[in-house]
Structure formats: C-alpha cells, structure tokens
Amino acid sequence: MPKLTIDGRTVEVAAGTNLIEAARTAGIEIPYFCYHPYLRVVGQCRICMVEIEGQPRLAVACATPAAEGMVVRSESSERAKEAREAVMEFLLANHPLDCPVCDQAGECLLQDHSMEEQRATFTTGMSETRRTFPGYERRLIGPHVIQNQNRCIHCSRCIRFTQEISETSALTYKSRGNSTFIDTFDGKPFQDPMSACAADVCPVGALTVREFRFRKRAWKLKSTPSVCPGCSIGCNIFVQHHERVVYRFSPRENSAINATWLCDHGRFLAESLNQQTYLSPQRRVAGQPASASWAEALRALADELRGTRSLRVVASANLSNEELYLARELFGRHLKGEIVVPVFPGEPRRMKNGKGEWRTSTDAHPNSLGARRLGLATVDGEGLARLLGRAADLTVILDPAAHPYLAGDEALQLLRAGTLIAFARSQHPVADVARWLLPTPSLASNEGTFTSSPGVVQRFAPAFAQPGAVHRTATGAMSPACPTIASPWGPPGEARALWIVLTALARELGVATLDLASPADVFALMVRTEESFAGLEWEALGGRGQQESYRERQHVG
C-alpha cells in the first residue's frame, strides 16, 4: 500500500491506484475529461497534469500509478496550473459558446473545469475561426442520442464505451487531426442496447439524450436514489425529477451490478413513471365510476374483505418486498386468501458490472426473486387463467401490469364474475370491471426494497409524495425529436403507495402486527421473521432516504 503526499496531504492507497483516484482519497480534485474510472486510460485530454518531485516534466495523473514516497503537487504547483490553463485555452479555442442552448449546462465537465482553470490571459476570445462540422450540429445518430460535433472535445470516452463496455464498437473516430469527428459506420443508426450511456460519458454536450432535450435544466433536477424496474438485474439509478415530474433516470454507481451504466430499455422507462391516470379512489356504481375518499374506500374494502367467503389475490413481481410481505400476511395468512405472483419472460437484457462481468436477465420484473423468497407462489399466464377460472367471491388485483393476460377479454370476462378490487396507476381495462379502483403511484413515489436476480436486496427511496396529472406541451419546432414537455399542471392527486393502503387496511381489520408506520418498519419485521432477510439492515442497504441535489450525487464520470 504505497503512501504518498499530494499537495502536502499524505494518503495511503492500494498499489496500482492512479494519481487521480489517490488525490480523491486525499480530498483533492484533479480535473479530467478523458479519464473515466471504468474505461481504459488514454491520457488524451492532458488536463490532469501534475508535478511530481524529481521528474522534470509534468505527468498525467490518470496514467501515473501512485508510488511509495511520491511527492505530487497539483493545486500547489504553478507549472501544473499553467499547463492546465493552457489546455483549457486549447479546448475553448474551437468549442462553441453554446451553453445557453446546450443540455449539458450544469453538468458539463468543460464548464466546471473552465471555471477553475480560466484566467484573464486567454487569447481565444470570440474566435471567428472555429472549426465546424456542417451537418453534424444536431444529428440524431440513433434512437436516443443526438450529436453536436462542434462541441466535441475528442476525449474518446464514447468510443471506448462502445468498444470496451457494450462491445458493439459502434462508434469511431473518422478523419484525423483537428477535423476528427465521431460517427457510426457509414452514418448508419447507432445500434447499441446501451446507446444512451455514450451520452452519459460524454463530458460535454456533444452527445446528448433525445428524450431529455430542452426539457429541464440539470441544476433544477433533484436526484433520488432508486432501483431500475426494467428487469431483475436491479441496476442502481437516480430518479431525477422536478416538481413532481420524473425527467430521467441516470445511473447510480454500483460496481457490483451496473458500474455507472444503464441500458436503454431500463433508462427510458423513466417517462412511463409520469403516467398517472387514476388520481383518486373510484367506486363503480351502476357501471359508472364515482370518486370517493380514502376513508370511504378503506372502510368499504375492509367490509368486503371481512365479509368474503373466498378471496384470491393477484400480486405482482413489480411490487416491493414490503408490499409483497404485507399482502402475504394480510391476504394470505390472516384472511386465508389465495395469493399468486404472475411472472412472464421478457426480452433478454444484459448489464456489465464494474469488474467487466456480464449479467443477463430474461425476467422483466424487478422483484421476482423477492416474491419467491417470501414463499409466494409464482404462476405463468396459464396458471393465472386457471386461478381466475375458479370461482371466487372477491378478487384483488394489486398491479394490473403483473401479466398481459389481465388485459385480455378472457380475463375481463372471468373477472366480471364476483367482485373485483383493483389497484392501478395508468389506464387499464380492469378498471372498467372493478368495483373499487384504488390509485397507486409509480416507483417515484414509493419506498421499499427489491431483491435483484443475483440475490441482493436493494432499497429505493421516494422522490415525491403525490403525483398529479402530467400535462404535455408540444415543443413544436424547438425540438422535433422530443415532441412534448411534461409539466405538472394540475393539483397533486391522491394516489397512495400500496404499503400505505395495506397497513391502513390492516388497521381497519384489527391486525395490529401489520399496522406499521413505514416501509422501514415492515422491513424490520421481515428481518425478524423471514430467513431470507435475516441479518440485513435497512440503513446499510444504500439509497439514502433524503433527496440529493444533482451536485451532491455520486460523480458519474
């Protein structure tokens, strides 16, 4: 473990650690563009130059491993600061002054470092001789990524990403020297299941995400730690939101699962979280829906549950462990109902972790393993049909998205026999058949844990409490690729997370043990009583409860 000094501070780091990481350990930030903790070191941008005692020339910190007794000077070195300032000047010589119209503003490494390194001696000024790339200033290169080659600082992160991480090698440099530009083969669409990660790693606005274009300034976004609901791998994300609208998912670093990556499928589920069709409890009276209060709804539900002779519950592998536990205990144990969790195979998804290992999943649900570990019976479409085919007084559907079978005519027909209580978020045919329709919010307003397919229990935190209706404004000519801006017009609705409803029902039904105040409490109960949760601690599961502003979130490159 070499011990070295950086700007007068001594640190001890693992052998092989580069000076950028070593400096970070010492609390010193050395600026960089081309360096990325999960990509090969190339030493191209030349801004991370530091002075090392005994070496006549400045060294690039990213490519220099820490050595015992090294004395490094970064901020305390005039030569290093001069060099960085010069590199900054070189980068700004051809970089367009696009900040007012560039999505990257606020999370742009060039902005950040130029604030540090810029001095009055710059001679570039408003240069009229910037090199430009006609036809490459707003180019949709794939379904999700927009290119502006004028902004590119040639750090090669995007290329290295497609070569080393997603392994598609879909991006390349073309030409050479100062006319080098990034492109796909023959200008063909950028095919890559993780294409938006190329925009993530881009330190400037050369590659940006279409779905996010012009929608929200990065510094307005709040970041809430969460878990991707796209499949069972459980990549860590931040739900980034503002005023009760989810704007995007961005990757949260987890070296064991997803490093700093997200696949396009999971990432672009973000928008779907804004679909909140149902805003208040609804009772169907004589075929017509009528709003009701939660107090009314809970009383009515408790009555139904108390009075029913046979109860069957369709849960879902999209529900949290806490919700599944409460459902199992309340509906299964106390009310003696039959409870199943439908599962169906999804498209294969892959994710590479920080060690370069691939993990695959063909399970479209974030919590199938959680459901199984809680001892819940899983069924496929046929099994679900058989369950609904048997007569029952009362059916409770906790999540209509649990299985596509539920949207079909056969299912609806079967559900018409008996009473149906459904919990839903967005438009679904079962709402027309349900006697009671209770609105649940998306993942963004929920709190709990999922168990990913490798068996890791992960927490997700709530971003905001009560989503409202999300109105879409057409952006018109401003950004044809992203046709609408979502804004929270309309008052907050009354959707409540399922765990809140289940604990309230427990209270109504007099099941004191399940009358719990928070998902943490439910979790604590599971730790005490469930073998698969033994020894776990809520606080240690990651995903802190409080919201973080975008600047405080973990540095994603």
Binding site: V41, V42, G43, Q44, C45, R46, I47, M49, R57, L58, A59, V60, A63, A83, A86, V87, F90, L91, A93, N94, T123, E128, T129, R130, R131, T132, F133, P134, G135, R138, R139, L140, I146, I153, H154, S156, Y173, K174, S175, R176, G177, N178, S179, T180, F181, D186, G187, R210, S479, P480, A481
Partner: protein
C-alpha cells in the same frame, strides 16, 4: 570519406544479391550468427551508433532494453516510414542497396532474439516496397532468411508492411498501433516498446539507415565505425540536401562536418548565386538556423548545443528570396495535416498556428499573433503532448518567430486586421449523411 552505405550507388544491377554478395554482403550476418546475441548488441553499443530516424538514441542501448527473461515472442521493426520533410535517405538506400537493410534487420533480430521482423514502409513508396520484397525473396532463396539460417538454428521471417499515408506512423508507438491494424495513435510511455511493443511483446524499432549501418559494424568492427566522427557522434551519415541549392541530393559524410561544408561544397552552394537565408538542419521538426549559424557541426551533440537538432539529417536550404512568415505557414500546414488528433494541445494547437499564419500571410496579422504563436508552441511541447509531434511544430515555429521576428512585425504593421471567415475543414471525403433533428 569512402562510401559505406552508398557504395553501391551507380553500380550496374546494384540491387541484386549477387552484387551484394560480391561486395562482401551477408558476411556480417554470418559473423553475428557465430556470436552470442548479447555480444552482437555489445558490438553495436561499442560502435556508439545512434538512431538515424530523428531521435538519435544509442542503438545498442535500445537493443539492451529488451528483457532477457521474457518468454517472447519478440519483434524487430524496421521503420521505413520516411516522411520527415527534407528527408529522403532511406529511399536512397533502398533504391541502390536494399540488402543492407535486409541484412541489418536480420542481425538486429538475432541480437534481440526476434524471430519475426516487419519493415513498415510508407504507403507512397510503392516502388521501394517492391524492391524490398524482391530483396527479401532473394535473401530467403539464398538461405539468409527463413528457418535455421545458415545452419545456426536461428529462424527469421521478414515481412514488408505498407503504411497508407500518415507521417505520425513514423513515431515508433504510432507505428506499432498502425502495424496492429488500428489508427496511428501514439501510445503513452511508459511502458516503452522494448518491454511492451508490437502485440504487447518486447519490440525494437530502428530506422532504415540505422539498420543499414549494422552489417558494416559487424564486418569492419565497432572501432572502425567509432573512428568516423567523434565520441558519441560516430559513423557515416547520409545527409539529404534539398531546397535552394545547386546540387540537391543525398551525401554520405562523417558525422561532424559543418553545415557550411555540406551546403557549399557538396551541394554546390545556393542556386542562382544567391545568399543563404536560413536552413533546417534535421527536417522541419528542428529549430531553424540562420545563415549566421551555418558553421555548426552536423552531429547530434553539436546541434543540440547550438540550440537545434540533427534529427534525420534532412537539410532544407532557403535563400534570400523566401518570406519566413510564408515558410512558417507552410510548416504549420504540414503538422496540422499530420496531427493524429488524440491529444488536446497538438490537435488544437497545430490547427490554431496554421490559422494564425494563414491569416498573416493573407495580410491580416494582429499585433498579438507572434506572442500567441509562442504561447501555443510553449504549451505544445515538453511533455504537454503524448508524442513529440507537438515539439515537432513548436520548435520550428517558435524558432522562426524568434529568429525572424522583424518579418512578422512588418507583416502586422503593413497588414489590415480584418478577421477572416474560416471555412470548415474536412479532408474526410466519405459519405456524409445530413439527416437533422
């Protein structure tokens, strides 16, 4: 001085192996094969031969860096990517006496225990590629290459690998990248090629002329080689003279003759009876020298002491009719065109210098321009870049600005400071889709 490397120039059928053998060719290889590889390295080390490609690094020392305990394979690369402006000596050697290069490659490979050697030759040298391929075929047939050479147990394959138009591939690590089938991006050093080179294996890269010296060192001995020139600057050197001289061409002379002697005696002096204004001593990647500095000795150390570089020994002579600002612009164009584009200072700096100088040539110089050029040069050199291409333009441009400052000042005074709209620069001529967003 008797001709050594160019002794076959002018002989009939000088390229054939028959001519080469008649002159004592492949005796060096025969001798080397009777010695231990390390002894061969020692001989070359003792000769004090320094690399003729531009860096002037002691060749024997470079060979000795190859780790002995590495399981191999090891590679020997002959750098025939001759692209430094003003340099045309390797072509001369190959044109008249290619077997020197083949034999030198074989001896060097034996010394570093490499069983595969590549001759990386610039793509434009089609004729000389064919000449080398023929020579290699002759050598194979003659038993000097291939399996169990001359019964020694040493195997060697030599392949010619064509470049495709990139000066930067003359830089040894960019050459390795190009050999490996990639864009010619120089690598970070360390690690050095002797330890991690071609395909990740220990590799030595030597210039054509350097390798051509090796058979002569083996046959005539290190002391003989060291007797030419002076300590640490030994051996015959091929000087290329071009530009405004009466007799441009390649001259084989001992290291250490003065530039005056080369230009005036051998190259016949300035054409048209004009006066010398300036010269590049070692290709355009060296600081320029004025007419007042023509008595500098042409060897590695003397040039370094005089504030310039011998480099490849490509001497470009400019007479009093030249405009130094234009010369500077021409030089800047070369490096901007050849920059690989990897690292920030060179990619942006070379282009920026070119823009400023073009603007000055067109009469729109600004008072800040000379200082801006110097600043760009300062931060493109001395470790700011991944490879020495940054230094390669910083040295000529800054030396021209410093030594001919009055020409720049005059241009600025007489010019009009109008800004010039720049057209987008895209040598990429491939298809360019234009679907917008």
């Amino acid at each position: 001085m008797e001709a050594v490397l160019l002794r076959a120039r002018g002989l009939p059928e000088s390229r054939t192996i028959a001519t080469y053998l008649a002159a004592g060719g492949y005796e060096g290889l025969k001798k080397a094969l009777t010695m231990a590889p390390d002894a061969v390295t020692k001989e070359v080390l003792d000769s004090e031969l320094r690399g003729r490609g531009g860096a002037g690094f002691p060749t024997g020392r470079k060979w000795s860096f190859v780790p002995k305990d590495h399981p191999g394979p090891r590679y020997l690369i002959c750098n025939a990517d001759e692209s430094e402006p003003g340099t045309f000596k390797d072509r001369e050697i190959i044109e008249h006496d290619p077997h020197q290069v083949v034999e030198g490659t074989a001896i060097a490979s034996y010394a570093i225990r490499a069983n595969t050697a590549y001759i990386y030759i610039r793509g434009e040298f089609v004729r000389w590629t064919r000449i080398l391929e023929e020579a290699i075929e002759e050598a194979r047939k003659g038993g000097f290459l291939g399996k169990n050479i001359l019964g020694s147990g040493f195997d060697l394959d030599v392949w010619v690998h064509r470049g495709a138009g990139a000066y930067i591939c003359g830089e040894e690590t960019a050459l390795l990248e190009s050999l490996e089938g990639k864009r010619g991006f120089p690598r970070l050093k360390p690690p050095f090629p002797a330890v991690v080179g071609a395909f990740g294996k220990p590799t030595v890269v030597n210039n054509v002329e350097t390798l051509a010296c090796v058979p002569h060192i083996m046959t005539r001995g290190a002391p003989w080689f060291a007797s030419i020139g002076r300590p640490r600057n030994t051996g015959p050197k091929l000087f290329c003279v071009s530009g405004h001289v009466n007799r441009p061409g390649v001259y084989e002379l001992p290291l250490g003759v003065t530039f005056r002697e080369i230009i005036e005696e051998h190259a016949g002096g300035i054409r048209g009876g004009r006066k010398l204004k300036a010269y590049f001593p070692g290709g355009t990647s060296a600081p320029i020298m004025t007419a007042a500095e023509v008595d500098v000795q042409a060897d590695f150390d003397a040039c370094a002491q005089a504030g310039t570089m011998l480099g490849s020994g490509g001497i470009i002579v400019l007479d009093e009719t030249v405009d130094m600002v234009e010369v500077c612009a021409n030089v800047a164009h070369f490096y901007a065109h050849e920059s690989c584009g990897q690292c920030t200072p060179c990619r942006e700096g070379a282009d920026w210098c070119m823009d400023i100088l073009d603007r000055m040539v067109e009469g729109h110089g600004r008072p800040a321009d000379p200082e801006t050029l110097l600043r760009i040069c300062r931060f493109s050199s001395n470790g700011m870049t991944i490879c020495p291409l940054g230094d390669a333009y910083a040295l000529p441009i800054s030396s021209i600005v410093n030594k001919f400052r009055e020409e720049f000042d005059r241009r600025i005074e007489t010019g009009s400071p109008l800004p010039q709209k720049k057209l987008p620069v895209l040598p990429w001529t491939g298809p360019r889709p234009g679907f917008g967003v």
